[in-house]
């Protein structure tokens, strides 16, 4: 596969390094700053090209027309969007991946034709949320370009749903309870499963139902 990476910041650098070490793909990194290009070239050889990746001429010179994947990982969302759109529209690149900094842009980029997005902000936020012990409800993962989420909630001692079976709890539509963890025990839930204080509930939910689910499980 020919993989074209645009943006030689930390993400672009380590991505290039990893892909080169794997050795199975042809990789080219486009970076604007000649100083960085010089350093990277010393390190990786001739897989670095100096230029503005958001210019059609640069993409052409880089052989975008035969690229299988274009990955835009500059620090600016608007640049990453334009790089991916040009790759798609001008060079018919089959797969485009954009790094996004503002999590709000996830849905927008998908609507505007970018195949995949990676939000570093979301990834870090989720990891931190999982590390905060007081948090009773954490967002584990986003699916389907942000339309669905996997969440985990711990049932508080005074929760309104404590002592109820899952069938009795008025879950919002678009919520599936996937697992209940009680101490070391993993319960695969049915309608008869009774929730107890301290249970960790893992659910798949539509994003717009996430807050409703949180309120339902945590409210007294």
């Amino acid at each position: 596969m020919y993989i074209l990476i645009v943006g030689g910041g930390k993400v672009g650098y380590y991505l290039t390094k990893t892909l080169i070490n794997e050795g199975t793909n042809e990789v080219l990194l486009i970076e604007r700053d000649p100083g960085k290009v010089e350093i990277y070239t010393e390190r990786f050889g001739s897989v670095i090209m100096q230029g503005n990746g958001d210019e059609a001429a640069t993409l052409e010179r880089a052989g975008a027309a035969r690229a299988d994947v274009v990955i835009a990982v500059t620090g600016d969302d608007e640049d990453n969007l334009v790089i991916c759109q040009m790759a798609k529209k001008r060079f018919a690149v089959p797969r485009t991946i954009a790094r996004i900094n503002n999590p709000k842009n996830e849905e927008l980029f998908r609507r505007l034709g970018v195949d995949s997005t990676i939000s570093a902000t979301n990834v870090i936020l989720n990891l931190i949320e999982q590390l905060i012990p007081q948090q009773h409800f954490v967002h584990l993962m986003t699916l389907q370009h942000g339309a669905l989420a996997i969440v985990e909630g711990t049932i508080p001692a005074d929760s309104q749903v404590r002592g109820l079976t899952l069938a009795e709890i008025p879950f919002p539509s678009g919520v599936v309870i996937a697992a209940v963890m009680r101490g070391p025990e993993l319960i695969l839930p049915t309608g008869n499963t009774v929730l107890e204080a301290g249970d960790e509930v893992v659910a798949v939910t539509k994003r717009d139902q996430e807050n409703a689910l949180r309120d339902l499980l945590l409210s007294a």
């Binding site: 608007e78 969007l81 334009v82 040009m86 505007l112």
Partner: protein, 143 residues
């Protein structure tokens, strides 16, 4: 008519003041509040600090009621992205975008953005005038 303008540089401010004088409802967005100094004191429109690639900033500028959106910041990509947000998310019919890079301008014109490329405009104007001047200079020699 309600118009939202992104970028309060020379072009954005001049356009905003003109539309305001003509009685249109104008909002101007700029990342830097000091840019609004370019607007005259009697400017009656709204100013919003922020970037127009952010839906919330556009909303604050009244994009939901806007009939037109004009993106004239210095950044081609910012203009392109904001215009697509205005068109795709808020359904603004008329989105005019300034794009300096001719190659990029061509691509986005093809996908339906209403683009203006100052680079092409100025270079062709300069060329036309130069051509006219050369003819004018040559005339007396030919006589």
């Amino acid at each position: 008519m309600k118009v939202v303008i992104m970028g309060c540089g020379r072009v954005g401010s001049q356009l905003a003041m003109r539309l305001d004088r003509e009685g249109h409802k104008v909002s101007v967005i700029d990342r830097s509040s000091s840019s609004f100094r370019r607007l005259s004191e009697d400017f009656g429109g709204q100013v919003v600090v922020g970037t127009g690639i952010d839906e919330d900033v556009l909303r604050a500028a009244g994009i939901e009621e806007a009939s037109a959106f004009i993106a004239v910041t210095e950044g081609d990509n910012r203009n392109i992205m904001a215009a697509q947000v205005a068109r795709e998310i808020f359904g603004v019919k008329e989105c005019i975008v300034r794009i300096y890079d001719p190659a990029r301008e061509e691509i986005y014109r093809e996908i339906g953005l209403d683009t203006i490329c100052p680079t092409k405009l100025v270079s062709s104007l300069a060329y036309d005038r130069l051509f006219a001047a050369m003819i004018a200079l040559r005339d007396p020699v030919q006589e």
